[in-house]
Symmetry: C2
Subunit: 210 residues, 2 copies
């Protein structure tokens, strides 16, 4: 977002915020379905039911709108799943989180992949600001997973030699790759195998047999 | 590839095969750098140093050319790494393979991601034939990993209760997700964490302490 747009956001009225949110929500859906390149400003305008000038009022350019979409998807993933993600502090919670992710993929018929990874694949080599924003989102995501594991270590569920940082990155890698395989293969076998393997590895750090 | 194009391939002269290969190689590089949508037939024509009519002689349409690129990337990954992939039958081999993948990413400065996954992200929802081809490639890739693990089970390196099929899918998921994280974050930390975690899990199935 440009300085001007950022400053404008802080001054938005409730109605303005609602309009901005409608634009970003519509853009997120279109970019998820068609990619960033396949989503034009007129597409977003029509889907959001706003005027082009309203879009340009809130977003200096498509790059700014794209970064707002990255922000929305990050909030949805890390905020939206926070019920599960913020409590990844037991084996039961890890398994419930795994089941929720697999369930979401079944609901989507394994279409679309991870919204953040898909944006990354399209933008990483062409939009440095978008890439950096997505990188930060992945870091936040890994940290949310790490916090739960750290809690398990501190509460004696996992041994002290469990490396919460490395395990959280590994779990996020298995999740992301599982979503890549799910999208291509239209089934959750690889996703389940990846997440189950990571949970199995974490179980090896358990202080007690489960 | 259309029936006509497939039939034509079988009748190609050595010179024709070389021309076809030059076209596919150029298209693969462009599609890796710019995506499929960002790669036009004139781009491929100029990069390959051929005429448009030569391209259409070998490929009925862009879809056929795209599938030839998927085939080439599959051969490169499963054929090209076959020195490592076909011998993933020891812990030393697994670690050497892991190091080779991380090394390749360092050489590429973590740019581009996995060529197959990037194609999948762009094409899966819009080109059913391309998606199916990429799905087959991932299956072949997992099978190459599985063969090595199966060899380790048969030779008593891994216990009988190791599930080579699930472990191979999990390893491929960690690899794919690690590449997603590498591309976004421009470092191999997540890739290394994912692959190391999977090797650590496989080690838990070892019959002997290493």
């Amino acid at each position: 977002m440009s300085e001007t747009a950022a400053a404008a956001t802080t001054r938005l009225t409730a109605r303005g915020l609602a309009t901005r949110e409608r634009i970003v929500t519509a853009a997120a859906q279109l970019m998820f379905e068609r990619g960033v390149a396949g989503t034009s400003t007129p597409d977003v305008r029509d889907a959001a039911g706003v005027s082009s000038s309203q879009i340009y009022h809130y977003f200096a350019d498509k790059g700014a709108l794209t970064r707002a979409v990255i922000e929305l998807q990050t909030t949805r993933i890390i905020g939206g799943q926070s019920e599960l993600l913020s409590r990844l502090d037991s084996f039961a919670a890890l398994r419930a989180w795994r089941d929720a992710i697999v369930g979401i993929q079944h609901d989507l018929q394994c279409q679309g992949g991870c919204p953040l990874a898909t944006l990354s694949g399209e933008l990483a080599e062409h939009d440095a600001a978008a890439r950096a924003a997505i990188a930060r989102s992945f870091t936040l995501w890994a940290e949310a997973i790490r916090n739960g594991l750290q809690h398990m270590i501190e509460h004696g569920v996992l041994r002290e030699d469990a490396d919460a940082h490395h395990l959280s990155l590994a779990i996020l890698a298995a999740l992301q790759g599982g979503l890549v395989l799910a999208q291509a293969q239209r089934n959750t076998e690889g996703l389940e195998a990846g997440l189950d393997a990571m949970i199995e590895l974490v179980e090896h750090y358990a202080t007690a047999r489960k």
